[in-house]
Symmetry: C4
Subunit: 193 residues, 4 copies
């Protein structure tokens, strides 16, 4: 029951985070195509962030699915993750409004890194609290591997952004696609339940 | 359980999408009736979009009701649908603020088409994953027929908008009404459960 | 199950409606007490509307509690109610920003009337669909009596607002308080479940 | 069932309150680091309020976990609490935009006091309605002690803010940390369920 409410609260926050980002795409006061074209960078940053939040939601979903016990540590590690995710609309808007300028990509990659770190902490806390849960351990092994790749890639992207914002952006998107590729093991674990 | 959380997340996103549209109806800084009358196009576009999102919610609801299995494909097809639906507040605001100008109706009809396509993809993915589920197949047959009519009508509306924005708008509203007419088969299927 | 999702969607919309109203209370750009005092009408209209939405949530809650069957009619009557309730943030902001000017009170009372009417339609549809449910009938009798008083009072308030906005405002608040007084029968019905 | 919907509505409101605060952090129209540094007070006030709402969510969660009966009194005491919590985004934005000016800290501490008082009322109403529930009484004893300390500390902070806004701010943050320290008794009570 405790777990259900944790999921409900997380779902609520993620649903709002993913949706309020669209409020940053302010409707132009004229009906010309040019006014729409000016919004393309904002739309682009929206698409990337929508994908990121959706990936976090999907993984969070799989993660919660495997556990049965929730303690205060998990509650707070989860809140900590939601905090960093809640800043994504801000970083998205800053990046979109400034045409993916160098600084904005650095901050965006840094924020994704902090979200990744917070997810990593959540995984670790869950592992300690649910030792002996084989399904969780299987999932953790896969998510931690992907998580490690993401942390390295985002950190690289921060450095790369100072040289070429474009390449940094491509790294961020590619990492997203890695997470999108369905994990056969997760898939199987869903089917078994 | 997995299905419940997919519903909860979708409900959350749709509830937010349908509600934040009202934020575009900015309260005038004066209390005159004229200032309200200037908002009528914004109110009009709000009513149309409220109806569209409500119809999607109703159909999504019926669809989820019929299935018991959820896989990664369904999760992502659903996220893809939510992405296009999340852009409706933007298209609505653009159309309302510019008095249903030609370009704005073209974009709106195009977006509805993309939402319809995403719903179609979701139906197809669900069908492949829940083969042999007769209730789902019955529902699919009816929703796909209506969906096909909608796709043709919206595509026509995009072309028509270049000639007469008014007729294009009427087509969009009429398609909405087709979906509103309760499907006897769906009705029966609800009662049986 | 169908009923649960209807509740979840309604809860989501009502939670958002009640919360986004606070966004209309824009934080002043200076820290003086005067700047806060200028916001008092906005705060006042916020308090009234928070109360109204909370009352609707409470009654909606009691209503759904009594029924077990949901059909398309109920789905659409409920969506119709949510539509009018979703306009409350707009009417609230207009009233607050214009210091409870005559026109704004007329519109606000009119909107409450439309919400009341939509609730009345929902009650009627539910009654037809759940004939023989004694608990629902008991609740309906009480809610319809209060609803009738509200419709008369709000309609009166519309007329009165043209003469004295203040008295119209008092009528609106008093009607709210009538709904706040707990109904012994509802109370008992909750305890029995 | 009644309890579930009360939780769902509260979760919805709290999730929205915690998330819309980020909308006050407006993305700067330039990509310079200076423009980000100007936002630090806004970010600071956001972090404090995120923590406060998260603490309320956690405690609310534990509280609801212990009870099985909900009556109209609890419904309204809960709505009353949500009302004050819903004003936190406003107070947060005012404080952040005005660099933690004296007046804004006074209002913020006052609002936290009112939230605390509303929580206290909710505890009292619950106690009266669930007499004999030992788990609730245990929780109440601990939460009321912490609540009393908070009320005294926030009231002190209001006075202190007139002398030193900084010390008042520190008091507010320290009180937050007191609530963060996991209560062994609550922890145990979660495990037992």
């Amino acid at each position: 029951m405790t777990k259900n409410r944790l999921e409900a609260f997380s779902d609520g926050v993620l649903a709002i985070v993913i949706t309020i980002m669209v409020l940053e795409m302010k409707a132009p006061h004229e009906a010309s195509w040019e006014s729409l074209i000016h919004l393309l960078p904002v739309l682009g940053s929206y698409i990337i962030s929508f994908l990121m939040i959706a990936i976090y939601w999907g993984n969070h979903h799989h993660l919660m699915h495997t556990i049965s016990h929730v303690n205060s540590g998990i509650l707070w590690a989860n809140t900590h993750l939601l905090f960093w995710l809640s800043l994504i609309p801000f970083a998205t808007a800053w990046m979109g409004e400034n045409n993916f300028a160098q600084n904005t990509i650095v901050v965006y990659a840094l924020l994704l890194n902090l979200c990744g770190l917070a997810y990593f902490i959540l995984l670790t806390v869950m592992k300690n609290c649910n030792a002996g849960n084989r399904k969780l351990l299987d999932l953790l092994k896969h998510q931690m591997r992907k998580g490690m790749i993401s942390l390295i890639a985002y950190t690289t992207a921060i450095g790369v952004a100072f040289v070429s914002p474009l390449i940094a952006g491509i790294i961020i998107v590619v990492v997203g696609i890695i997470w999108l590729v369905p994990d056969r093991n997760i898939e199987r674990s869903i089917k078994e339940n």
